[in-house]
Symmetry: D2
Subunit: 149 residues, 4 copies
């Protein structure tokens, strides 16, 4: 994994504040576990209202939390006063989201001046054991002169 | 657009029943507008709890409804007694989900025996006018001997 | 399909000149069939040296020509004096590249100021009949102040 | 990285034989560096005929070698007598392919019975130093009853 220098000393506070201002993250019950320069982890407890017809967490929810984890990994490297936009994301669902909770980990692969490319993994945690359930990639764009809030 | 022959005469009822059994689609307030052989449309009213920090519908929600629309487009072509699994999806968010509601349209591009590849578009509807806000692709897998419910 | 206004009246000449300056396109024998505002078509004759172990055109070659077709569809909408860079592309190979030649068609879905998102399809032509063999998506970036050559 | 058990004791010979039977890999001058259970590395020397208009290796070539590296990573885990097909691949080009040679490394993330999902990275090697130039994901399908040659 690359070693990134944050361009904003307050990156952690800025990311947490942005996460807390997303109604949808609250609506599904996601929580921000950690943010470090170029990396972010989000946790989501299993809830019946988040499932598809077989009782597993819906693939769209898996996509939403890993999109957020990768987006905040990117945002942790942004300059002060900027915001970050998801350009695109792609995920492979490799196992059902079957567990007590899901953990989504996003990590920057390459931080350019305008675009940041990140990779992500989602794990289902069951009886304390993690099973890989999705791998993802995201391209995010830094809007240098548009604050996040 | 290709012209597809359904392999299950009851495809529409089967798709509707599957959609109705997905708690997450109800949780976000999505509704199934239509399903025809190889195509599916899902509608989602704008709700404050579905938004990100700027008041637009969260990209993860956009992904969830287009993943579902493409998955049900694929499922409309499945044989009786089978179910369909999302293998992967990818979306480009090309404009904010800004409107009274979103419409997600999925359409099968190629239906193989095991895998079905679909394309999708999401539009934001504002004052009756549609604006493209996402384009997507999905690979789905037919599980021939595993019923949907 | 959207109707695009070119921002460079000489877009066709600029695209052709750029295509002609790509040694790799010549190396595989690809030719530029047409370019219109927001769309581009590339043709590739079947050659033994372009194949994989089963005699079909290699998936990497299919990716190369559709990446180029989408990139030039994007470039047709760029301002004078700029160049275009592929940020990412994704393709689904839905049938073998089996035919006398392949046709790759790229089309812009959304042209922003910095990023252009395009979709593409590749067809294998055999006995005059086209079979879809790949669907693709691309994100391209306009480098406004960096000429193409 | 996961630890994979090969299902074919002769996996290395089978992968090398398949690679050697791909005319396109020879046409661009790619060579198979190594194959271990679930991983594969391919090397490509810089050649003028592989470039785009700025003298860097064409993005389509970068896609071709990482598609192959991921496909052979998947193939290393296949049962005897089977072959592997690329279902889809996606790559982000994060830096120009600028160097004396490129190295493409593919690695299986999850090996299912029918589908294998792999991740890949391409590095440009210049003066002995590696620079990340692409990240990729691939879905491959095992054709259990169709030999590779």
């Amino acid at each position: 994994m690359a070693n990134f220098e944050p361009r904003n000393p307050d990156f952690a506070a800025v990311v947490r504040s942005s996460f807390d201002s997303q109604p949808f993250m609250a609506h599904i019950g996601a929580s921000l576990v950690s943010v470090t320069p170029g990396a972010c982890e989000i946790s989501l407890d299993h809830r019946p209202e988040l499932t598809q017809q077989h009782g597993f967490v819906h693939g769209g929810v898996v996509g939403a939390i890993i999109d957020s984890a990768m987006g905040y990994a990117a945002f942790s490297l942004a300059v002060p006063g900027s915001s970050v936009l998801t350009v695109e994301y792609k995920l492979n669902l490799v196992a059902p989201g079957d567990g007590d909770r899901l953990i989504a980990r996003g990590e920057v692969a390459r931080a350019g001046r305008t675009l940041i490319v990140s990779r992500g993994e989602v794990f289902a945690v069951k009886n304390g054991e993690e099973t890989l359930c999705a791998v993802a990639t995201q391209t995010a764009m830094i809007l240098a002169d548009r604050p996040d809030s």
